[in-house]
Amino acid sequence: MPQTILEARRLTKRFPVRAGLLRRATGLVHAVEDVEVAIPAGRSLGLVGESGCGKSTLARLLVGLLEPTDGEVAFHGQPLARLTKPARRQLRREVQLIFQDPAASVNPRMRVEEIVAEPLVIHRLARGARLDQRVDELLQTVQLLPALRRRRPKDLSGGECQRVGIARALATDPALLICDEPIASLDVSVGAQILTLLKRLTETRGLALLFISHDLRAVSYLCETIAVMYLGRIVEQASTPALLERPWHPYTELLLRSASLDLTAAPTGERPSNVHPPSGCWFRTRCPLAETVCERDDPALLEKGGGRLVACHKRP
């Protein structure tokens, strides 16, 4: 049984909505609501959802950039809030993040070699000639020419910037790589190259992967398991082949149909606001299967056999 690196337990994050002259909190944005997810070592999990579903917030909660409103994130079983200093440093070495906007995720005043070397410097893993060597190795791993070492981010293309970000993330030999929409702002062919690179890395290094994206196709290429998020909650989680073959949750079905851009599909309505979500099941306003029970009760995420988890009253 592989060890769990990161785990979210009843993780909740709500942001106050401030309005009016005195900036009073008039409501709460339910960004992430009661999420339970575990990432075991060496496995890849995809997190799929549309904008505003909370996936980026979840990523930030998982690495401790945000404090949860409720629930906790556990690193090797230890809650983040109670980590000792050495354990926190270990977290920073073992868990790394790749961002959506590659150019924005690097310091514009630093050169490529400095950017890639930074984690090694911070964690005192290498110095001098050995540092240079490691930087070269990392650049090679992400297939960047060593000639780019002295360049600044503004002289790099989007794809090259993202490779720099990946090289930097690999510097400490992490166990888990969290990718937050890493190809969303890249061209199709460049994105395909990055996806291929990530696949190779997970296979050769036994790297665990949490791949967050709205692009179901990219997620299905990289990940063994997929979790679907809607309005801050996980509504379904299953192995990739099972999910693609037979989606159980109506939202998953909707996503799959939309991903293939089937223009003959019936209209599906608007996403409700996550400040004032509907009562009961939050998807019921757009669900073709909605019933009275869906209005009343919020469905829990339950195991339905074969490792599949679904949060729906209509799919026993």
Binding site: S157, V188, G191, Q193, P241, L261, P267, T268, E270
Partner: protein, 324 residues
């Protein structure tokens, strides 16, 4: 006669003494009622092409050569006043990011009324009625109540619908849409594409759709033109081009979409990266990345040759499969 006929259109940008050829002698035609896709990745020139059609290129960009014949008239030779009449009234634009295309301090009703006032003869109450009619045509619920709404109160999909309403208000014969659904969620994308399809059919619109998303093109368009490094490298009916691509770049692009075969998801790639427009490779600009390239591909720029009854491709070895 073609509704829009682009002949040898060239767009260059001058910066710090360097000339960047964004669009290189492009020929394209759009028939009435046709949906043409212009496909390519960043830097291929598709947005410059879209802007150049109605002479919207500003310094440091310029249009040194080419003609854009719209209903027989060369738009690039028109006076600014006459061109303004065409632009907006007979040719509508829909841009990528509705958040930045809509004025945040004006309600959508005010912005719609402005367009209606500018490009039609309707005024006051009649203009309002027409605005409400437009909003319901684009699928906005409770349109009369929504006239007073501000852009930030609407979702991305709603905003894009408003943009489309503004574009079709003067009943144009051609709409140019530059990545209209890229910034939207996939479920909303479907809705907007359905809307565009419906409008195109009911209003007999011609549509030029600029996109990098081949699936969108496949669903919505009749013909497609593929651009690379400012040039058209392939053009033809969508189904034919997608089923049997002639140019290796088109083949590569189609292969970049993850595809599920026998339960396994695979993805193809194109080697290398987009060329620097100021230092284009000699001959065919794609040859350094082409899996079937030969030495002669670097000699001279291939012509756009006929490779089918209604298909053209700029390649010395069309339809060659790598490894074949």
């Amino acid at each position: 006669m073609a509704l829009l006929s682009i002949e040898q259109l060239t767009v260059v940008y001058r910066q710090d003494g360097v000339v960047v050829p964004a669009v290189d002698r492009v020929d394209l035609a759009v028939e009435p009622g046709e949906v043409l896709a212009v496909v390519g990745e960043s830097g291929c020139g598709k947005t410059s092409l879209a802007l150049a059609i109605t002479n919207l290129i500003r310094p440091p960009g310029e249009i040194p050569t080419g003609r854009v014949l719209f209903q027989g008239q060369d738009l690039l030779a028109l006076s600014p006043g006459a061109l303004r009449d065409v632009r907006g009234r007979q040719i509508g634009y829909v841009f990528q990011d509705p958040a930045s295309s809509l004025n945040p301090v004006l309600s959508i009703g005010e912005q719609l009324r402005e367009t209606i006032r500018l490009h039609t003869t309707l005024k006051d109450a009649r203009a309002d009625d027409y605005a409400v009619d437009l909003l319901s045509q684009v699928g906005i619920p409770s349109p009369r109540e929504r006239l007073g709404a501000y852009p930030h109160e609407l979702s991305g999909g709603m905003r894009q619908r408003v943009m489309i309403a503004m574009a079709i208000a003067p009943k144009p014969s051609l709409v140019i849409a530059d990545e209209p659904t890229t910034a939207l969620d996939v479920t909303v994308q479907v809705q907007i594409l359905q809307l565009l399809q419906r409008l195109q059919q009911t209003l007999q619109l011609s549509l030029v759709l600029i996109s990098h998303d081949l699936t969108v093109v496949e669903r919505l368009c009749h013909r497609v033109a593929v651009m690379y490094a400012g040039r058209i490298v392939e053009a033809g009916p969508v189904t034919e081009v997608f089923q049997r691509p002639a140019h290796p770049y088109t083949m590569g692009l189609l292969g970049c979409r993850p595809v599920r075969l026998q339960g396994v998801v695979r993805i193809g790639t194109i080697e290398g990266s987009a060329p620097d427009l100021t230092r284009l490779p000699s001959g065919c600009a794609f040859h350094p990345r082409c899996p079937v390239a030969e030495p002669r591909c670097a000699d001279a720029l291939p012509r756009l040759d006929q490779v089918g009854p209604t298909r053209v491709a700029r390649c010395l070895k069309p339809f060659s499969k790598p490894g074949a």
